[in-house]
Subunit: 326 residues, 2 copies
């Protein structure tokens, strides 16, 4: 089986690539080759069983996307996107990559005529906008309040329509905020959710710009990889015309995250969190979803982390920290 990963250089793409290279399989099918595509070269993580090709380019160029699908990979992961903040700052770029790029991919598949791959598309909980109910269910209106959310939702509508017509077999997964993101702090407004765990564990001070009662919907990097692999291998028949699912996650408050950090890694770590309220970030976060009832995804076999403690432990494991040794 050949696999194409578009957006392979990002965190989610790297983790997926690593998992596929390590197992050499997708479900019970051996992976013979992977094409890793992004605007910058993804790191090739092949081995003797899996041939890896690294390609770079711009998905808003139809010809580039046409060449990518010409090899007819059985599974395509479409993870590429201009993120929320950048899509808000650069209107044209957001629409060009997130909307036109996604459509280019779908049209390139359609142009081949007799080619009907599984397409896994990463959408986002940004397709939802306030005001929200206590828990957002599978029938709640998608009313994005950012250009990124609108673009992701347009991708969902296209994915549903192309799938309904049998052009390809699509699954859209709305990812929770991924916590704990490894690496350096980034400038995303959601960055502090990872920072208040990652930095103290590394012995570094972290800034918390919101109140302790801020509640959010999170999943670990490993859960995200699991969602993608399940979406690529699941039976899509039960999804009917609604191919896009809110992924399961944990609804936790900042206070609960900090308590879990103290429990798993010690109270001295908690002392490295410095409260520095930021009105701008508080306002942005106030419009974000806090809690979901992801019943359809759970019924379809997607599984989330059992607890926030587990998420912290997984991050410590990934970064070589052992509990009690931090």
């Amino acid at each position: 089986m050949k696999v194409l990963i578009i957006g392979a250089a990002g965190m989610v793409g790297r983790n997926l690539t690593e998992a596929l290279a390590e197992s050499g399989k997708l479900g019970d099918q051996p992976v013979s080759g992977m094409t890793l595509f992004d605007v910058v070269p993804a790191s090739a993580q092949g081995n003797s069983r899996v041939t890896v090709e690294v390609e770079t380019g711009d998905i808003s160029d139809r010809a580039v996307v046409g060449r990518l699908v010409a090899g007819r990979p059985e599974v395509i992961f479409h993870l590429a996107a201009i993120v929320s903040g950048e899509a808000e700052a650069d209107f044209d770029k957001g629409y060009r990559i997130n909307m036109d790029g996604t459509r280019n991919l779908f049209e390139a598949i359609r142009a081949l005529g007799d080619y009907h791959p599984r397409v896994v598309y990463t959408s986002s909980i940004a397709v939802f906008g306030a005001p929200f109910p206590e828990a957002i269910g599978d029938e709640f209106i998608t009313a994005p309040m950012t250009s990124y959310g609108a673009q992701k939702m347009i991708g969902e509508l296209l994915l549903n329509d192309y799938s309904r017509r049998g052009i390809f077999d699509g699954v859209g997964i709305r990812l929770p905020t991924i916590v704990v993101r490894p690496g350096k702090p980034n400038k995303a407004a959601s960055g502090f959710f990872s920072g208040i765990i990652r930095e103290p564990l590394a012995g570094v001070e972290a800034v918390l710009p919101v109140d302790d009662d801020v509640q959010h919907w999170v999943a670990s990097p490993a859960s995200a990889t699991g969602f993608l692999i399940h979406a690529a291998t699941m039976d899509t028949a039960p999804l009917g015309a609604r191919r896009c699912l809110t992924m399961p996650g944990l609804s936790v408050t900042v206070g609960e995250m900090i308590a879990a950090l103290g429990e798993v890694a010690g109270e001295d770590r908690v002392g490295l969190i410095r409260r520095e309220p930021d009105a701008t970030i508080r306002a942005i976060v106030a419009g974000w979803p806090r809690n979901f009832d992801a019943a359809r995804a759970i019924e379809a076999g997607f599984t989330a982390d059992a607890s926030f403690q587990d998420i912290i432990r997984a991050h410590m494991h990934d970064t070589g920290l052992r509990e009690g040794e931090t």
Copy 2:
């Protein structure tokens, strides 16, 4: 005030043009000029107060749309669309006109920079797809089951996002099925809803392809005109980020429609309805919404017909028939 009507040659566009020409006003603003645009020439219905220009072209041509908005009309009605059946039969044409054409219009407005008109966009209850609750509320998921519905929903997302960014001041209205459509029967799957009233009133046999208990969401042509005028003149501030509203209507069964026909026009008219079940039409109609709770639109001042009897009487009035004289 200058008004641009895109899709002016269709039934809804003709009725709107007529109403604006007759009153010479939009809200309390005098209409100085109307540009009527469509793929075929719309009939100019100007008078001494209102200058009318008729133009033809294709909204999928960006240059054409650029020229249309160059005159900076204060209000733009965007009614143009490839209808449901044709968008399903011709994938490329549906996306080209309904999605790209709508985006071309929005982008042409944006390109002018300091121009922020009111844009009224006709969406459709086709943005919803089964399974439905008993009455579809304003927070129910939009999950279209046709390409037309997907394209209309993409237009809604763009309209919301461009409005949120202050590019223009948009209102989207999801029209019920319009009954009684004047003129000849057409091939739309929904055509019989009008046919079973219009044809008997004209002394002609009508075919009913579905069962009497089929229930649907309808509004009169006059209500549709009223929706458009209210959308063009209302205060949009209370809409917040959700600029698209399900219009109020009447939820009636075919049996209730036929009973109303008998009541208003006599039982002999009912005798002209011939039941000829059609499995294809029954299957299509089974996927359509039956009933809505259009609370937001009602709160925003949109008003529907009081009864199906009134809808029949309005059609009789429009076509010169008087009650008791049919």
